[in-house]
Amino acid sequence: MGFLVATLFKIFIAVGLILLAVAYLTWLERKVIGDIQVRFGPSRVGPFGLLQPIADGIKLMFKEDILPANADRLIFFLAPAVSFIPALVVFAVIPFGPSFVITDVNVGLLYVFAVASLGVYGIVLAGWASNSKYALLGGLRSAAQMVSYELGLGLSVLGVVMMTGTLSLVDIVEAQNGTWFGILPRWNVFPQFLGFVIFLISSNAELNRAPFDLPEAETELVAGFHTEYSSMKFALFFMAEYANMIAASAIATTLFLGGWQGPLLPPVIWFSLKVFGFLFLFIWLRATLPRFRYDQLMGFGWKVLLPLALANVMFTAAAILILA
C-alpha cells in the first residue's frame, strides 16, 4: 500500500512538472525563434510574455470543436489521446535524479522504444479519421518517416547498451560515473560520438520537427495530419509534440550525457540543465535549417544513417573485444 501511494505521488509530481515544462517550452520556442529572426516574440501577456502559454491554453479550451463531415467519430476522438499518452508514459522509466525515478525496469530502454513506437498511431489514425486528403497524406508520410528512422534510432543506442551491458536506464546512468584520464567525464558521448549524432538526427526525425517536418509541411499539405483538428484536440497534438521533445532530450541526456551526474550542483539541476541544452538545440535547428524534400528524407534515413549506425555497432563490438 505504501509503495502504491509513493509511486502515485511520484507520477503526480512528474506529470505536473512535464505539463508545466510543455507549456513553457512553447513560450521558449517562440522567444528563441523570435530572437533568431530579430523579432520580439510574445511580449504582451505578462512580463516577457510569460503568461502567454496560459492565455493560449484558455483560448484553446474555449474554441469551437469542429467535427468534419464523414469523419470517423470514434477514431477522430481517440487519435489525439493516442498521440499524447505515449509521450507522457515514456517518463515512467527516466531517472531524474539518483532516487527520483518512477520505476526502474530491467528492460527500461526497450520500454522507451516500445512506447515511443506507438506515437505514430495517433498521427496515422488522425490522418485517416479526418476524411481529408491533406490529413491522410500527412498521416501516411509520417508513418513511412517514423518507421524508417526508428531503425536508425534503435541501432544508434546499441553501442551504449553493448558498452554498459544493461538495458536499465538507472544502471546506464550509474555506469557513466567517474572520469577518463582524470578530467573528461565518463559520459558515453565520447566513445559513442557517432551513435550520439545518429541518435540526435533520428530523434529529430521521429519528432516530426524541422528539418524533418514533412508530415505537416504547410506549403504542400496545409497542416498535414492535424488539418481538420481544432480546439483542445488540436492542442493535444501540439502538447504531444513538445512532450516528445522533452522525452527525447531526457533520453539523450540519460544515454549519452551521464544523466543526472555532475559536480557541485544537485543532480536534478544537472539533469534539467542537460535536457534544456538539447531542447535549445532542437529549437535552434528548427530556426536554422530548411525542410528536406521527401525523397531526400527517405534516402538519408536508409542510405546514410542506417549503414552508419550498423558500422557503429560493428566497430563498437570489435573495440570491446580487442580492449577486453
Partner: protein, 171 residues
C-alpha cells in the same frame, strides 16, 4: 492481484481477437489486433518475460501493424462498398471443430506437461539475479545458435525476394 490482472488481459485479448474477425471496417480490425498484442504483452509480463513483452510490442504493434494500417489506408476500403457479412453453416462448423481440436490438444497434450512436468532451470529468483535479457541472449547464442543463424538467412532471402518482385513490377 495477479489473478485479476491475468483475467483482465486474457479476456481483453480474447474479446479483441473476436472483435477483429467480426469488424466490417478493416481499420477497426487492425486496431483490435493491436489491442490483442497489448493484452498478450501484459500476459508475458505476468510471466516475468519482460524482454519478450516489449520486443512483442516494438515488432508487432510498433512496426508491422503500422505497415498494415498504411496499406489498408492506401487501399481506402469503404465499409459500405464491401459485401455484407455472411455466416454459412459449413465454414462456421468447420471452424468450430478445428477450434475444439486445438483446445483439446492444448488441454490434453501440452497443458499437463507444463503444469505437472519437471521444472526448467529458470524461476523468478534466478532470472532476477541473471537478468532476463542476459539469460535470453545466453540461451539464444549458445544452445540455439544454428537455428538463430538459419532464421536470419531465411529472413534475408525473403527480403531479397521481396526486392526482386517489387523491382520487376516497376519496369
Amino acid at each position: 492481484m495477479e489473478w485479476v490482472l491475468f483475467l483482465t488481459f486474457a479476456l481483453l485479448a480474447g474479446a479483441a481477437a473476436v472483435a477483429m474477425v467480426l469488424q466490417r471496417n478493416p481499420v477497426y480490425s487492425a486496431l483490435c489486433l493491436i489491442i490483442t498484442f497489448f493484452a498478450q504483452a501484459g500476459l508475458y509480463i505476468l510471466l516475468h518475460a519482460q524482454l519478450i513483452a516489449f520486443v512483442h510490442i516494438i515488432v508487432y504493434a510498433g512496426a508491422i501493424m503500422v505497415l498494415f494500417l498504411f496499406v489498408i489506408m492506401l487501399l481506402d476500403l469503404r465499409p459500405e462498398e464491401l459485401p455484407p457479412m455472411q455466416f454459412r453453416r459449413a465454414p462456421v462448423l468447420l471452424g468450430l471443430v478445428l477450434a475444439g481440436a486445438l483446445l483439446a490438444e492444448l488441454a490434453l497434450g501440452i497443458g499437463p506437461r507444463i503444469i505437472l512436468g519437471p521444472r526448467g532451470p529458470h524461476d523468478v529468483e534466478t532470472l532476477r539475479i541473471l537478468g532476463n535479457t542476459q539469460e535470453v541472449g545466453r540461451i539464444l547464442f549458445r544452445e540455439y545458435l544454428i537455428p538463430f543463424e538459419l532464421t536470419s538467412v531465411i529472413l534475408l532471402s525473403a527480403m531479397v525476394g521481396a526486392l526482386v518482385l517489387a523491382k520487376r513490377r516497376s519496369e
